[in-house]
């Protein structure tokens, strides 16, 4: 991945991996203890792991179309926000890949009332995180996932975030 695209901020965790599905378990294994350390409940921990796993799977499947040797970077950092006079702790996860630009309006997410396999990944990501944002950053795709420790699912980050 090009140096110019790399982040200068200090992150709690940075993972660089290739787009091989057998590495998904490595990501899950790294995130679990980190989210526990950040104070997430077991349920929220599972939601974060699920969202990141699905996002990386989507990169492997759609962005890299099954090629096994392409670069993926995952960064994790703390976040805080103030709501109703209380400080909530959270996590920001950034995922980068070098695949072609994604048109967010064309991302495959099927209606959930259809009983057929496939197309569930985006529902799982959106249903698990507080905020899901995609942007094209230079020649990279960037997916930003945010989750707060005391948040309710699906509350899409209307509150100011302070990295």
């Amino acid at each position: 991945m090009k140096k110019s695209a790399k982040l200068t901020r200090a992150f709690l965790l940075k993972l660089e991996l290739r787009s091989h599905p057998t590495l998904l378990c490595v990501i899950r294994g790294a995130l679990g203890p980190l989210m526990e350390m950040l104070g997430f409940s077991a349920e929220h921990n599972r939601e974060i792991i699920r969202a990141v796993d699905e996002a990386v799977s989507n990169i492997m499947r759609h962005s890299y179309r099954g090629r096994l040797d392409q670069p993926i970077e995952v960064y994790c950092n703390r976040l805080q926000r103030r709501t109703n006079g209380e400080t909530e702790q959270g996590v920001e996860i950034l995922l980068f890949d070098c695949g072609p630009a994604v048109d967010p309006t064309k991302l495959p997410a099927r209606p959930l009332d259809e009983i057929r396999p496939g197309g569930l990944g985006l529902h799982i990501i959106r249903g698990s995180m507080d905020s899901v944002q995609y942007k094209r950053a230079g020649r990279l795709n960037q997916l930003r996932l945010v989750k707060y420790a005391r948040s309710s699912k699906g509350d899409c980050g209307s509150v100011e975030e302070k990295p």
């Binding site: 599905p21 057998t22 998904l24 378990c25 899950r28 077991a42 349920e43 599972r46 939601e47 792991i49 699920r50 796993d53 699905e54 799977s57 492997m60 499947r61 959930l112 009332d113 009983i115 057929r116 396999p117 496939g118 569930l120 990944g121 529902h123 799982i124 249903g127 698990s128």
Partner: protein, 110 residues
């Protein structure tokens, strides 16, 4: 991940252990369709007791098994789901579509 099959009465029980993700979910799909379509087993029971994690591709394999069972008039039963597996089926709004039991005794007696 490992899958093994055994017969109990008229049912085939598929014991799965490990995590199910896009690296191995085709194996689950293959095992289910072999029992439901090729062998025509009347009742296929999937034991997920040993499964720690299942992703959307694993869920898709279960949906394929469910569809195959409906097409062939057989039953497709799940048991031993942990919190993670229940949550992913729930968030996909699929949990109620499956026959789900807590343990093997209940699944076989059903």
């Amino acid at each position: 991940m490992k899958i093994s099959a055994r017969r109990v009465d008229t049912a085939t029980i598929l014991d799965v252990s490990g995590n199910i993700d896009m690296s191995n979910s085709p194996e689950v799909r293959k095992a289910l369709l072999r029992e439901l379509r090729e062998k025509g087993v009347s009742r296929v029971v999937l034991n997920l007791t040993g499964v720690g994690y299942i992703d959307s591709s694993g869920v898709a394999s279960l949906v394929e098994g469910l569809k195959a069972s409906r097409e062939s008039g057989s039953r497709f039963i799940l048991f031993g789901l942990n919190d993670s597996a229940r949550e992913v089926l729930k968030i996909s709004r699929l949990l109620k579509l499956f026959e789900v039991y807590d343990d093997e005794t209940q699944a076989i007696a059903s």
